[in-house]
């Protein structure tokens, strides 16, 4: 399996975020996205996840399940955690487990999904399973959204600053998860500002200075 982007460009709100961007991620490989704030790391991940429009260039996933759209191969964990405070922790996770699962794609992930209570245990929030998600702290919410990666097997992981709000235990847990995912043939793109203790290729995005607006002569 191979994910490639060729000559990608993205325009958001009339501003060119990046252009002529090339990357390639093979199975078992981790690509970390570096760059200053506003460089377009999150935008690139959203672009790959099909959540932002590609202005130019091509994005291709080779070796995916035929007749299944690219975005159904992808796990996306962004800044928004998609957690409903009114549902219990395990209800939140069980919902996404059911909606994100897919047989053909799971076969490609090389690793079986685990059921929601076991995933909560793996993320260290098992005892909170039956509490409303409203009581979770920021770090616990992050652990709950990362637990989505375990309950549905998908071969491509896009993680947007996944270490935010996580304590050292949580980060170790996350890195172990990513390592297992890579060793079973998955691939991952992680936008981050911390040094990952994992072998990774790096793609650095530069900040584009907004072009000065044309001067308008006063009438």
């Amino acid at each position: 399996m191979k994910l490639t982007g060729r000559d990608l460009a993205c325009i958001r709100g009339g501003r060119l975020v990046f252009e002529a961007l090339d990357f390639r991620v093979d199975a078992g490989m981790l690509l970390q996205l570096r760059g200053r704030n506003g460089a377009g790391k999150s935008t690139l991940l959203r672009l790959i996840a099909g959540l932002a429009r590609i202005a130019e260039g091509e994005l291709a996933l080779e070796g995916g399940a035929p007749d299944v759209p690219v975005k159904e191969h992808i796990h996306y964990v962004g800044h928004l955690d998609a957690i409903k405070p009114a549902l219990s922790v395990v209800e939140n996770l069980a919902f996404w487990a059911r909606l994100l699962e897919g047989e053909e794609v799971a076969a490609l992930a090389g690793r079986a999904a685990i059921d929601p209570p076991a995933a909560l245990d793996a993320m260290g929030i098992g005892p909170l399973a039956d509490f409303p998600a409203a009581i979770l702290s920021a770090g616990q919410r992050r652990r709950l959204s990362l637990a989505r990666l375990l309950v549905a097997a998908r071969p491509v992981w896009l993680l947007d600053e996944p270490t935010t709000a996580l304590d050292t235990d949580g980060q170790a847990c996350l890195f172990a998860m990513v390592e297992r995912h890579l060793s079973s043939g998955g691939l991952a793109l992680i936008a981050t500002h911390v040094d990952l203790p994992l072998p990774a290729a790096t793609l650095t995005l530069g900040v584009r200075q907004p072009e000065p607006r044309p001067e308008v002569e006063p009438a």
Partner: protein, 223 residues
């Protein structure tokens, strides 16, 4: 796919029933509208009896639009909508399931409450049944048409009042045939089946077309 649809439906109804002021808010709003009408119209029982079905329909129309603005906005704000687009469910199906769940938790209580509230307006027993029947046939159309407005305003922070403004003109045909079917059932001379079938046709049409239009509107919000 059926399992995912059932899961989404169950989550939507659970959320609507669990979040305070969600589902029952529409029914209480309906009660309020109907309760203030006699004060405005005056204690003329004959007049109330004549306009009662129309008041019930207008009240149900306004109450259906309660909470519609949050239908997609809540999911948009917490990132759920992003993830929902990455599932096997097409966006139009997601819209349809959410609308169906919204109708069950908001529209259905109105249908059940309408005959009881009709008693406050001196509506005669035959008309009570007719109002409940026409509301059952017509309110799904209101909810589904409303999804278009909800989808268009999904990215607006204060879009709450914009949804009724966008949607009310589109609901006029439903209102016309809903009230005329009720009147036909009570006073005649037209056969009730004529406006009722048109009403049912409007509902079926909106159930099919509105999710497609709403899904297109939601895609605009992703840029």
């Amino acid at each position: 796919m059926i399992g995912a649809i059932a899961m989404l439906f169950r989550r939507e109804t659970t959320l609507a029933l669990r979040v305070g002021g969600g589902a029952m808010m529409g029914a209480v709003f309906f009660l309020t509208i109907v309760a203030i009408m006699p004060f405005a119209v005056g204690p003329d029982l004959n007049l109330l009896q004549r306009i009662g079905p129309a008041i019930l329909w207008v009240g149900a129309l306004l109450a259906t639009l309660i909470g519609l603005d949050r239908l997609f906005q809540a999911d948009h704000e917490d990132g759920s909508l992003d993830l929902l687009t990455m599932t096997e469910l097409p966006l139009a199906v997601i819209v349809a399931v959410k609308a169906a769940a919204h109708w069950v938790t908001t529209g259905l209580p109105l249908v059940i409450a309408a005959p009881l509230l009709g008693l406050m307006l001196n509506v005669e027993p035959a008309a009570l049944g007719a109002v409940a029947l026409t509301l059952a046939a017509g309110t799904p159309a209101l909810t589904f048409i409303g999804t278009i407005g909800a989808a268009l305003t999904v990215a607006l922070r204060r879009g709450g009042l914009l949804v009724p403004i966008l949607i009310l003109p589109l609901t006029v045909p439903v209102l016309i045939f809903g009230v005329s079917a009720t009147n036909a059932a009570v006073t005649g001379p037209m056969a009730v089946s004529t406006p009722l079938t048109i009403l049912a046709g409007l509902t079926l049409l909106s159930v099919v077309l509105a999710p497609i239009a709403a899904a297109a509107a939601l895609r605009l919000a992703f840029d």
